[in-house]
Symmetry: none
Subunit: 285 residues, 2 copies
DNA sequence: GTTATTATGTAATTTAATTACATCAAATTG
DNA sequence: CAATTTGATGTAATTAAATTACATAATAAC
């Protein structure tokens, strides 16, 4: 266990002043390693020996040694601890926490995702006559993003965030069509209906959703992420980022399957933007 | 480039004594980080100031700072490197690479983001009469996502991905309105226009875009991320994830600024979904 | 309410690192 | 080849940083 994790895990056993030190260090680890013990003590509003004692408590020889350990922890790609945002957090604290818990979520997702299913999903997608992305609420923007990626592949892609359009589209689907339903919880009734309708019409249904959810049961293929979500904020955050990365992975798999000459296609799409953009050189100095 | 690599690469430019120091450090890096400057000087059979000068030559502040850098170098290969996807990668390989480079991008973004600007952006947003999110292409889905977050706060929020609607909306804006323009490159002409128009009409314009881009120049406040993007795929991936996390941060800052009773509001919004969802207990086993 | 224990801070001490300066070695020039 | 300059290196003094020892305050136990 590295020092940062150690601090987080033993935060309860700290005294009041040590807690202050821990908070400051966790909020600004980068700054800490470039600070003297005096500077850190001042930031935490404690005395220098308190900082020193804090270091010893974490089994380091002293402050300089502690900084060494801390530097190594930070270099190790940082421990992605899922720390919850709290009422009294300042901008530094909540910014760091959100970045970290998002990274922690991606780390979990990476470990849990089933490569086999991804591969099968890519299979299905590359052979699709038409691809539809459906999501509601926060998942709607993930669906949009997916459309933005897949339309480049010269495959008919649709994306609806309107439940009526989704229904109509699902009813019209047929063999060879792929419908991707996106929902973190997998418990949105309307979307479950869509999945069921699409399947009745012989479409292949891929669910980006929770394993063992009502939606999952309606799907041909389930890409489950099972990312822990900080529900204190009542907003989907990390889960949606994980979904997007999954979309990236599917899109990447798609292009790789199609081979290198297909990549030129993508370049053409990107190049088509040229006229609508300011050239980079105009602003070089 | 980390310090160890730097030592190796600049070994030719060292003086005789500096060379001795380099040799000792490269031979015993682990020992070095736990040695004093005196001990190291003795090992290398040079004077202490020589060691100090050696450290400075490597662009560190001094010996302790050098040890810090060395410690980070030794803390073995940052696990989250931005590895590019290659033609012959199988599903495992590209899945891992995309997860990793996304995490690496977030890590960079976290280090580069300016907390002060975030704080000011939150300030501006909490005081807004109306908030508009504008993006085009891949950034459009980020704008949608932002709308999905901010509409919960009981503030008028609009989001357009249609350039005509954006224009009309921007012209209608006035003092107290906040317009958030999202663009990775910051070089999309249409969006720069929108920002300019909004500013002419006294709106505050926040840009989530590249620092020192044409768009950035039109903005009141610039939230720059500067995330490295794998352009081989010709699709925005990591940059867009970083933008989303930034939106999460702004939304979180917003709710924290509004205090705890405001959080109950969010809960209400979430609870409103109850009827449209299958209850969890129905499926617990 | 008193005592013991732990936590924290102040001031002194020690240790480490840096600076300023002196000396030496090598290179360059007349 | 001697003289001068430049750069490299070391010595000693100085400054900065960290640690220790001790005192005081807070807390818990009796």
């Amino acid at each position: 266990m590295n020092v940062l994790e150690k601090i987080v895990s033993s935060v309860t056993s700290f005294s009041k002043s040590e807690r202050k030190v821990a908070d400051v260090i966790l909020a600004n680890p980068q700054i800490t390693i470039h600070s003297s013990i005096a500077a850190l003590a001042k930031m935490a509003d404690v005395s220098e020996p308190t900082v020193n004692r804090f270091c010893r408590r974490l089994d380091t020889k002293g402050f300089p040694d502690f900084k060494l350990h801390l530097a190594q922890s930070l270099a190790n790609g940082t421990p992605y601890v899922n720390r919850h945002v709290e009422e009294e957090d300042g901008p530094e604290a909540y910014t760091a926490k959100i970045f970290e818990s998002t990274m922690a979520a991606l780390d979990t997702a990476r470990q849990r995702v089933d490569i086999n299913t991804i591969n099968r999903a890519v299979d299905v997608l590359t052979q699709a006559k038409k691809i539809s992305f459906f999501g509601l609420g926060a998942s709607a923007s993930v669906a949009h993003d997916a459309q933005n990626k897949f339309f480049r592949f010269n495959v008919p892609v649709v994306c609806f965030d309107d439940i009526v359009m989704q229904r109509m589209s699902a009813i019209n689907s047929s063999d060879g069509d792929v419908v991707v339903c996106i929902s973190h919880t997998g418990r949105t009734k309307n979307l479950c209906d869509i999945a069921a309708i699409a399947r009745e019409n012989d479409a292949t249904v891929i669910g980006i959703t929770a394993y063992d959810s009502p939606l999952a049961r309606e799907c041909t293929l389930v890409l489950s992420l099972d990312v822990p979500e900080d529900t204190d904020m009542y907003m989907p955050m990390a889960s949606r980022v994980a979904q997007l990365v999954l979309i990236d992975i599917l899109a990447t798999g798609f292009t790789l399957r199609r081979g290198s000459k297909f990549r030129e296609n993508l370049k053409k799409v990107k190049d088509s933007l040229r006229g609508s953009r300011f050239e980079k050189k105009d602003f070089a100095n």
